[in-house]
Symmetry: C2
């Protein structure tokens, strides 16, 4: 499909680029052109075409096009457990509620539950997810069918998955479908034996691949690690050679200054999950310290059992709001910094260098933000409006890989939303029997 | 208008009432009936009518009716300053940015800017606001025209308004328009002379009226008050006789245990403003302590310059999320408690006893929550879904005083939204010249 967007405001998210007014052209899955539309002929010549025949021309009516949000840490299949077991501390929530239900979930269940999550990502302008869950093959199938860009990471731990399976999936889920990729990962230090983590570091060395994991989410987790290994989780994993090819760590609420320096040196991204860290009473991450150290900081919703929604607007406000209250400084972590985290930095953490900004040749992962809503007015500062007053209600369109998946409240996916809802309710009903 | 809602789920917010399935009937501005629709004839007999002729019958398709949210602290006219001066500490934000612009705003400006805020309240299911701002007469006009229920409070301080004006407005703005009322109030201890506050307490005694004010928003404010008067602000105001007829205090981030006991004794409501307290780095209020002491706790967005949106979903998540992280206890302040704050407790704080729950004879201030959205599925627990995963996107309808003001994204107000936006942009443009 070739689609021309006109009458648009455009926030490309390229460094220091102001909000443009003009056009954006999509040819198949890529952006052909961003600009004021005046140098049309030159663009055609440059691309060796005489003219463009548009499948669709969309009048943006002054609304904003920007790169889609990257949800850099989630567990999509946990839609099942939304509002199922709230108001419990993390360890009892995991051990007494989440793990027993998860033990009964099939790959087919997770296929359906992931589709439910995808619908919500689309409503929130999320065009790529970094998913860690139980059954990578059925998750891949769900995302491919729904048109969602999905980078998966393994969740190897003492009870499920394995280093061999991680290697198998690494080969099978990379390079086949342009929407899908797979990265090495394990659940967390506290759910893996030392031997298992050594094997994982070995595999990372063999494949020259980055590794991802939950890390320093709770104070107790860090204290337990220190008791077990004499050092904090980040330092311990580094001692196993886990970060030789970089990677990323989810949560990082209790990261030490030593670990912050280490992560900078080893090119480990931090993926922050503020709503989940509040809801499970885990704490407030030192985002300003991360930024001052020059870390790549991205944002994730975490799974819908611990959040409970998949809403990047809530997360963006929390990243800045919590930084301000933590540092007792209302100037901490400004809106543009947060927008970078939610887009460009997420792309970097997930290995999606081609889907970071709106520019010629980049993948067409684009959202349209409705500025004709009262929470976006007046137009004093569009970027600040998005971070400080934006909501899902402002997502007018979500395009992934050149395909419009959501527009004006309608989902363009191969299954009726009501069927997907029914399936999710059927699965939780079955679990409750 | 007589309107019948059927095929509804209904969360009445009456104590311990589960989610019902059935019908809700509205006759003019009041609720005629809530139930399963079976005892229709008995309802007619009881109300001395033979039958109802419905102006509209609305199939709710299983969506949820609940009382509209009460935004128990806001400054609507500050829409002008949304995204205008973010990322500054409270005192410089107020003194260097807000006050100079406010000094140039006319009553007519505030009339238009309040209408912009009303549009946003409608999108967030807010059916009543507790507004404190500069020009009560023009605010009253804006709300009356737009159909918004508005309780105003004066903002007397050393620089604007006066105790005489407060008394005048008290008489003029109460009892005239069923949508409007006015309560005594002053800006804050730190913007009023002792003499002015003594006069205000005198007026409260004369009118036997509750009084409202900002209180203990920042640590510095409390410290300054202790330096000035030897006691914290709540204790100081009580010593002037300010709370003899109750009232309410906005923010209360730094309330002391002594003040919590005092507020319980004097029936002073606490109105919490979590997003604003984050954004201005003011702190996290001890909500669990308030609840344990039996205070009436309501929720407000604060004005759109310090939030920057008027979104009760964000506030509700923050109330519980911040309580959890503050108390290091993920079971602190559960979802039903938060829903009560956002509805019933707000009504109590604002003197809207007739608009608190959905029951026969109550005012028809009703919203419909769209459960056919992915963030509301599966239906494990509807109340938790609203608090933990709800967003403006779920507000399908907002009815105030029996009139539908917003439905399926369309505003039923006497002016085109685009005209209201244009006016707001024109006013800020003028200020910038």
């Amino acid at each position: 499909m070739n689609i021309r967007f006109y009458n648009a405001r455009i926030l490309t998210m390229e460094a220091d680029m102001p909000v443009l007014e003009g056009e954006l052209w999509v040819r198949e899955e890529r952006i052909l052109y961003v600009g004021d539309g005046a140098d049309r002929e030159a663009v055609f010549r440059k691309n060796g075409i005489d003219c463009m025949i548009w499948d669709e021309e969309i009048d943006c009516k002054g609304n904003l096009l920007m790169p889609g949000f990257k949800d850099a840490h989630t567990h999509s299949g946990m839609t099942l457990l939304r509002s199922y077991a709230d108001d419990l501390p993390l360890q009892s929530w995991l051990n007494e509620q989440v793990f027993p239900i998860e033990a009964r979930m099939t790959a087919e269940d997770i296929y359906h539950l992931t589709k439910l999550a995808v619908l919500e990502y689309l409503t929130s302008g999320i065009t790529a997810i970094f998913d860690m869950y139980l059954t990578p093959e059925s998750i891949a199938r769900a995302c491919s069918e729904m048109g969602m860009r999905c980078v998966q990471t393994g969740a190897v731990n003492n009870f499920s998955q394995s280093v061999d399976l991680a290697e198998k999936w690494y080969h099978e889920l990379n390079g086949k479908d342009p929407l899908l990729s797979f990265r090495l990962g394990f659940h967390a230090e506290y759910t893996c034996s030392r031997e298992l983590m050594e094997q994982m570091a070995g595999l990372a060395g063999k494949l020259k691949a980055p590794v991802y994991m939950h890390l320093s989410e709770t104070k107790k987790e860090v204290e337990d690690c220190v008791e077990r290994y004499g050092v904090t989780p980040g330092v311990f994993l580094d001692s196993l050679g886990m970060f030789e090819y970089g990677g990323g760590a989810y949560h990082c609420v209790w990261l030490t200054p030593e670990e912050i320096s280490l992560f900078k040196k080893k090119k480990v991204s931090v993926i922050t999950n503020p709503a989940s860290n509040l809801k499970l009473a885990s704490g407030i991450a030192p985002i300003r310290d991360f930024l001052e150290a020059g870390l790549n900081v991205a944002i994730g919703t975490d799974g819908p059992a611990s959040n409970n929604c998949l809403d990047m607007f809530r997360e963006m406000f929390l990243v800045t709001g919590l930084a301000k209250v933590r540092e007792k400084d209302a100037s901490a972590v400004d809106a543009m910094e947060v927008l970078r985290m939610a887009t460009v930095n997420g792309a970097e953490a997930m290995g999606l260098a081609d889907a970071d900004v709106l520019a010629e040749g980049k993948l067409a992962d684009i959202i349209m933000i409705d500025l004709h809503q009262p929470n976006m007015q007046p137009l004093n500062n569009i970027a600040k409006n998005i971070v400080y007053s934006g909501s899902k209600q402002n997502v007018k369109m979500t395009m992934i890989h050149g395909k419009i998946c959501y527009h004006d409240g309608v989902f363009y996916v191969p299954e009726e939303p009501e069927e997907i809802y029914a399936k999710a309710n059927e699965i939780i009903g079955k679990m409750r029997q």
